[in-house]
């Protein structure tokens, strides 16, 4: 049982802790698991989260930054005042828990549809687009020399990967072809400024409370590149969850996002943001197709993956709305 390993770990690095309780798996795939538990402490229990790759799993997928890098990035973000859980401990091999880290549990909501509809968040919603701009500025301002080793990405490299992923399907998708062509013709080249890019900053990967953004999660796809990529990705229609007239996660306008970003002392390049929004829409479409491939290849026949595969067409209509809008 994982609680005994966790207890041994916690007692060793958390002064006064006597063990753990209430361990429950929140999510898990073949490569990564997330657990919640409480650290038992005489001065009051502390909520904690374990993120780990089981010991049996070694090969990191090519795009992932790795759990050690994730822990380091979250800690850097926390220290720089970016809303982030505090990292409490990085796992060591002798603990028998695999690789990963333990962080403080931040209370709040991550389910996008609840954040967009529940009364509890009514006061947060109008301020979120601007607040997100400030949070992204904080992430992009983290000094490069402190970062762990990360992939260096450019639009050109990313487009080559998209093309390879698309060709691997062996299934014609004329709208994806149109988007690939559109993007190749408008590739803005390497950005003048290169910063840390979160890589998956969107509604769904943020812990939101009634007061706004409380934590940025899922640094798995972090890399170094064009900061405008994060601003484009957060606007992709798939992350508006039905609130399609509010580009920033269904919360608010691009103008609010940009104002929040610039108020924190950074500059926005709206043309690059738009380019990255198209990139992001295609990227999610290809990720949906990847789910279809995994559904077909793996023996467990996950219906969820199969159904995500059928969501690629959502990105096709969104690409058409961006590239070939009808009337007005």
């Amino acid at each position: 049982m994982i609680e005994s390993e966790l207890s041994r770990s916690v007692v060793a690095w958390c002064p006064g802790a006597t063990g753990v309780t209430g361990a429950a798996k929140l999510s898990g795939g073949a490569s990564q698991e997330t657990w919640r538990f409480d650290i038992v402490h005489p001065s009051g229990n502390m909520g904690a989260i374990l993120r780990r790759a089981p010991a049996s799993y070694s090969a990191a997928p090519e795009r992932a930054a790795g759990l050690d890098a994730e822990a380091r990035l979250m800690q850097l973000a926390y220290e720089a005042g970016v809303p982030s859980p505090r990292v409490l401990h990085v796992l060591t091999p002798d603990e028998g828990l695999g690789t990963g880290f333990i962080m403080q549990r931040v209370e709040g909501e991550t389910i996008a549809r609840k954040i967009l509809r529940d009364d509890e968040f009514a006061n947060a919603r109008p301020i979120l687009a601007r607040q997100i701009g400030g949070v992204l500025a904080g992430i992009h301002g983290l000094p490069l020399q402190n970062l762990p080793a990360l992939r260096r990405m450019t639009a050109t490299r990313e487009l080559k990967e998209f093309e390879r992923d698309y060709r691997s399907l062996g299934w014609p998708k004329p709208v994806f072809e149109l988007a690939l062509r559109w993007l190749r013709e408008r590739d803005p080249g390497p950005s003048a400024e290169v910063t840390l890019v979160h890589g998956d900053f969107r509604n769904g990967n943020l812990i939101i409370g009634p007061d706004g953004v409380r934590a940025v999660l899922d640094w798995e796809l972090a890399h170094v590149g064009d900061p405008m990529e994060d601003l484009g990705w957060v606007c992709v229609n798939s992350w508006r969850f039905g609130e399609i007239d509010k580009p920033v996660g269904g919360f608010g306008s691009r103008e609010e996002l940009f104002a929040g970003y610039e108020a924190a002392g950074r500059r926005v390049d709206p043309a690059r943001v738009q380019f990255w929004e198209v990139m992001g829409t295609l990227r999610w479409g290809l990720m949906c197709c990847g789910m279809m491939q995994r559904f077909r290849a793996s023996p467990d026949h996950s219906l969820e993956r199969a159904m995500i595969g059928r969501r690629a067409s959502e990105t096709e209509i969104d690409l058409l709305r961006l590239l070939a809008p009808r009337g007005t």
Binding site: P174, R311, E314, L320, A324
Partner: protein
């Protein structure tokens, strides 16, 4: 020729059974998985209902657009290659309208509740 009931009648009956009789008795993670399974059956039902008509119309558009005959797969491959090579683009008469119609027909099967689709459908109906 196969006998009745038709595949659509069968998938619909199974989906309705799961939705009305089984789902209320299931909780937790299995309830979520059951909802996904019902969604799968709904997709299959919509595809069986709509595919024949939309495929025929798509084939007719592709034949006109490309000026040659072939199967739906062959013509879609030719279209994709033409776009990739820059021989066909949004200035090509009929291309944008074809991509829009084909995509709308996919959404009608995959995700008829998707907000972008509903917005565009309302535009079609309003026009």
């Amino acid at each position: 020729m196969q006998d009745e009931p038709t595949p659509v009648e069968l998938t619909k009956a199974v989906a309705d059974f799961l939705r009305n009789d089984i789902a209320p008795q299931i909780t937790g993670h299995h309830a979520f998985k059951l909802r996904v399974a019902i969604n799968v059956l709904d997709v299959v039902t919509r595809q069986l209902t709509l595919e024949e008509g939309s495929d025929a119309a798509e084939l007719a558009r592709l034949t006109r657009l490309l000026g040659n005959e072939g199967s739906l797969m062959e013509l879609n491959r030719a279209l994709a290659e033409g776009i990739a090579a820059g021989k066909l683009d949004l200035q090509t008469p009929g291309l944008a309208a074809h991509l829009w119609q084909t995509t709308m027909d996919k959404l009608a099967v995959d995700q008829p509740n998707y907000a972008s689709y509903k917005r565009e459908l309302a535009r079609d109906k309003g026009a």
